[in-house]
Homo-oligomer: 186 residues x 2
DNA sequence: GGTTCTTGTGCAACTAGTTGCATAATCCGT
DNA sequence: ACGGATTATGCAACTAGTTGCACAAGAACC
């Protein structure tokens, strides 16, 4: 039940319209809490009804018109409450690990292509994170806020690093597969 | 849509009743695909209706009676098909990362206790994985099946290792928190 | 020999997330 | 000005997962 809170964070960082939020969920926020535009619009409606956000006054509040939202004090309070509240870690579900375990029983036939594809996807994501790190977190900026944001980004970097290494190992385990192409970026 | 396949894997590894499956989902399989007993019973019903599994003939098929299931050829075929099919990686959602990002905006007050609690939980899980590794994968066993299973377990170990390190770093970032107690197991 | 505890099975309702489509406004070439 | 592409907003139906409870059978209590 965290989508509303993800939206509150995004809106606190910058008031936005539904579409702008959607774009930002495709980038930064979405890296660890993804959402589609349909979910976002639905949630914006609820958050407005609850008095946590409000639409900035616009010319005509009609369909197909941009509507920008900002967070109200009640919304900021709710976010603070949620952040501090104790929450159990959600159980993971990872289909690729499951498929490897299935492969131990029914064989590895047909797995190689998808392992390779996932490896490429994770390498791409890792490169994107490293790009962001270079751009937004040059050494020397040590404000508390920047350090926290950097910490979150580093989680992304380290997780993607893990997956690229693990998938490369998995490919090496396949009986008749070529070893994965080395990642020869600098 | 992978719960039915997780169940097929478990049943191929060993035919079981609903409750036995539930227990195994609390341990091994559940480490990367969790499920409650309600989900499992529902899915067993569907899998039986589809002809993927069948109940081993029992004395009285009454309520409150153990019923053991085994996988039929159609079920094994379906699992093979699913394992080889291309699947997009699911977008991640991690509430703790989201909370840290929220903390960058609304402050870190109240976070410390839960960070510490999660750190303990991950350390516990890591210890459990390492125990399993020591018990089930002594050096020298290099059958293809064992290597694949070990690979999956190592993913769990490395992910938990990452989280314990990351959470310790996060605690170190909190303004007025003590550093996390060192993990002084051997 | 009734009571309560534990084990095993299951339904129903709810919540969160996904997929597919609908609609309005605006921009842009002709 | 007209007609199609793009931008922006949104509803509805579906799927997957969670929560809460119900009920039957046997064990164990005493």
């Amino acid at each position: 039940m965290s989508l509303p809170h993800a939206i509150l964070i995004a809106l606190l960082e910058r008031p936005s319209s539904g579409l702008e939020l959607t774009r930002r969920f495709d980038r930064s926020i979405g890296y660890f809490w993804s959402a589609t535009h349909q979910q976002i619009y639905r949630e914006l409606g609820k958050l407005e009804a609850e008095g946590h956000i409000r639409a900035l006054p616009a010319q005509q509040p009609a369909r197909g018109q941009k509507k920008r939202y900002e967070v109200l004090p009640a919304g900021r309070a709710e976010l603070g409450r949620w952040t501090a509240a104790s929450q159990d870690p959600k159980p993971h579900r990872d289909a690729m690990l499951l498929r490897l375990r299935a492969a131990a029983v029914v064989g590895t036939a047909g797995l190689e292509a998808d392992l390779r594809r996932h490896l490429d996807l994770h390498r791409l994501q890792l490169a994107e994170y490293q790009e962001i790190e270079k751009r937004d977190f040059p050494p020397g900026n040590d404000s508390a806020q920047a350090r926290l944001q950097h910490l979150v980004l580093r989680a992304g970097i380290e997780l993607e690093t893990f997956w690229t290494q693990w998938l490369a190992e998995a490919l090496a385990e396949l009986p008749d597969a070529q070893p994965p192409v080395a990642d020869d970026r600098p």
